[in-house]
């Protein structure tokens, strides 16, 4: 199911943990959907000096978190903000389609941590956006045209965007 890189990151996730007095914290997901990711960042001279995460979720969610933390470390905030879902999937050598949405929230969590940091800089509370789809469901069965929804994740992605 998973690529070798995914399995490698899943087995040996990098940068697990919390950062005490983190400069920014970002969280996405909800347990009904299956995955929750929290990212912690330490920023110095506009560069991500340290990135750590905690993740509750499937193999993909853990590998994504680990990969994102590695990709982000050492990058400027602008660079890190440009890490996309697609970049993560590419770096992981692919993810199963149904994992594209629910489990690929690592970069979102990172971006929220950065936004949290930037909001704090400006002295205001960062306003957390909505927490992803409340229920990450697969309506294949409720649609008569399978081509409208051949894979759960496709639907998931569409309904949440």
């Amino acid at each position: 199911m998973y690529s070798e890189i995914v399995m490698e990151h899943f087995k040996n996730p990098r940068n697990v943990g919390e950062i005490e007095n983190a400069d920014g914290i970002g969280e996405v997901g909800n347990p009904a959907c299956g995955d929750i990711m929290t990212f912690y960042i330490k920023v110095k001279n506009n560069v991500l000096e340290d990135v750590k995460f905690k993740t509750f979720g499937c193999g993909a969610a853990i590998a994504v978190s680990s990969m994102v933390s590695e990709m982000a470390k050492g990058k400027t905030l602008d660079e890190a903000m440009r890490i996309s879902h697609r970049d993560v999937i590419t770096a992981l050598d692919g993810l199963p389609k149904k994992k594209h949405h629910c489990s690929n929230l690592g970069s979102d969590a990172l971006h929220r941590a950065i936004e949290d940091y930037q909001a704090k800089l400006q002295g205001k509370m960062y306003e957390k956006p909505g927490d992803g789809p409340e229920v990450c469901e697969c309506p294949v069965r409720d649609i008569e045209d399978p081509e409208e929804a051949p894979y759960c994740a496709t639907v998931c992605e569409r309904s949440s965007k």
Partner: protein, 394 residues
Amino acid sequence: MRIINFDHMAASPVLPEVVEEMLPYLTERYGNPSSIHSVGEQAEEAINDAREKTAALINANPSGVIFTSCGTESNNFALKGVMLANRAQGNHLITTGVEHFSIMHAVKALEKQGVEVTRLPVDKYGMVDPDDVETAITDRTVLISVMHANNEVGTIQPIGEIGKVARKHGIPFHTDAVATAGVIPVDVEAMSVDLLSMAANPFYGPKGVGALYVRKGVRIAPLLDGGIQENGLRAGTENVMGIVGMGKAAEIALREMQARIDHLMPLRDRLIRELPEAIEEVGLVGHPIRRLPGNVSVTVKYVEGESMLLFMDMEGIKIASGSACISRSLKVSHVMLAMGVDAATAQGSLLMTLGRDNTDEDVDDVVRVLPPIVRKLRDMSPLYKKSSKVKASA
């Protein structure tokens, strides 16, 4: 690596005696039961022999046993066939909120076509109350369908009592016995069951073959229209080899059933006792006593099922889970939700289904291997530290 199969509900290896019985039907006995010549007759006799053995397993009249391609087909056939054939009599179907997908989605499909459905609630053990069945009956009710035992949580329903209610009101009663037929005693007479779905793999027959029992007198329309195979109720060239395997597996299951149960229950009960001793905040799901002999269904808080399952897989231990990430529908098990398990806890579902090849050593291994995996994942979990009830582990 030693492989431990704790996922027998998904797949059990076919018994060697069953394989042996099947092989000739793949090669020299290749006849089509519909042919009138001797090569065909050989196949027809083989199917009828299998029909008798399968019927014996559920104490049914062989002429009521219709072979299908899987438990799902049996369930779809029962529900759609009875509702279609009885439209003149009524349009109301009673079922439960904890059925297998193949009932749940067939019911949804019927609902879209105008069938009225009552889905009965269950208690925290997943049990249906026979009184609720009686209360739900209207003069438009033409079918009651309640599964015998739940494949995910192991709970065995009071089918005999529900059967009595149905019989009293003269309403056909279907039970999905895919998880029980060949596993624990099933008796369509004692349970007052009119239609019963079963599949061969749960009792070590081949995958992709099942049966529906239909009591004489029950009105049902075919799901597969066509030739007059299976008494005109299930058309299509038969999977002769698979049916022969189902018959043989049924024969052996009937003979060995008590021994299998006596072997499974102590292993099951050790796991149910020892896992919560080895890991904090492990909860049993389903009924502690009225439970399938090989079913161990638990939730491990603060971690998600798939990640546990993958680490177990690396150690050669094959298990399942009702977590959203694992289901292809990306939804948490509707069974656990119906039982009142909250969604986050249900994500930590682990489902172990034991079989005749499992040993005490397998249980030892799982009880040894799982705790460090859970510890590692909890250390990574943002939910774990948030919980005030638990102190972080080293």
